[in-house]
C-alpha cells in the first residue's frame, strides 16, 4: 500500500483524472472531496462489500426450488 501524508486542502491525483482532496479532519473523522469522470464508480467500501455478500448469497440460494410462492403476494412499494 502506498502511504502519503497530506494537509487540509491538499490533493492527490490518480491517473490524471481522479482527484482526492482532504477537506477537514476532526474527532477521528476525515472529510474528503472526490472528483472523477462520470463513468468512474465511487463507493464506500463497506457498501460494496455488502452488495458483494448479497450477490454471493443469491448465487448460492439460486439452487433452491421455487415452492409455495404462488400463494404469496408481491410486496409492492406504493407511494
Amino acid at each position: 500500500m502506498l502511504i502519503l501524508t497530506r494537509k487540509i486542502d491538499e490533493e492527490i491525483i490518480i491517473d490524471s483524472n481522479i482527484r482526492i482532496k482532504i477537506l477537514s479532519s476532526s474527532d477521528g473523522q476525515v472529510k474528503v472531496g472526490l472528483t472523477a469522470p462520470p463513468e468512474v464508480e465511487i463507493l464506500r467500501a463497506e457498501v460494496y462489500e455488502k452488495i458483494k455478500e448479497n450477490t454471493l448469497m443469491a448465487s448460492v440460494n439460486s439452487k433452491n426450488k421455487l415452492k409455495g410462492i404462488s400463494v404469496l403476494k408481491i410486496n409492492k412499494i406504493s407511494k
Binding site: 464508480e41 460494496y48 452488495i51 455478500e53 443469491a58 404469496l72 403476494k73 408481491i74 410486496n75 407511494k79
Partner: protein, 133 residues
C-alpha cells in the same frame, strides 16, 4: 453453442443471445457473459453465466415492485433475488439493480449511494385473502 446449467439442464443458444457485462458483478468480476432466461413462470428471469454454467441469479423486474423505480433509457431494471427455503423470506436487492439493454445485449449492476432502496427488501407479503380473491 451449448451449456449444461444447474437450473435448466442443457440449453442451446446463439452467440447473439449473450448479454455482455463488461465489469461483471460484484464478487464475480471475471464472469462477463450471461444468458437472460425466461421460463413459464411469469415473475422470474434467470441470469445464467455462460463461462460458469452453474452460476445463476434469479431476477425480478424492479418496476413490478415499484412503478417509480429509476429508469435508464433503453434498459430494463431488475433486482437480484435471494431465494429462501421459506418462500415468505425471499428478498430482492433494490439498492444495486441490474440494468439490461436487451437490444444492445449489454448489462451492468449499479450501486445506489443513497439509502432510498433496501438491499434485502421482502419480495412477498403473505396473501391473507388468497381464498377470497
Amino acid at each position: 453453442m451449448k451449456i449444461n446449467t444447474h437450473q435448466f439442464g442443457e440449453i442451446e443458444f446463439e452467440e447473439e443471445n449473450i448479454i455482455a457485462f463488461d465489469h461483471g458483478l460484484p464478487g464475480f468480476e471475471k464472469m462477463k457473459r450471461y444468458l437472460l432466461i425466461r421460463t413459464e413462470d411469469e415473475l422470474f428471469h434467470w441470469l445464467n453465466s455462460v463461462e460458469d454454467p452453474e452460476l445463476c441469479f434469479p431476477l425480478v423486474g424492479a418496476r413490478i415492485i415499484d412503478e417509480n423505480y429509476p429508469e435508464i433509457e433503453g434498459h430494463e431494471a431488475f433486482g437480484i433475488v435471494t431465494l429462501n427455503e421459506d418462500p415468505a423470506k425471499t428478498t430482492i436487492n433494490l439498492k444495486a439493480p441490474v440494468y439490461i439493454d436487451q437490444n444492445k445485449k449489454t448489462g451492468f449492476q449499479k450501486i445506489m449511494e443513497d439509502d432510498s432502496y433496501s438491499i434485502n427488501y421482502n419480495l412477498f407479503v403473505e396473501n391473507k385473502n388468497a381464498d377470497t380473491n
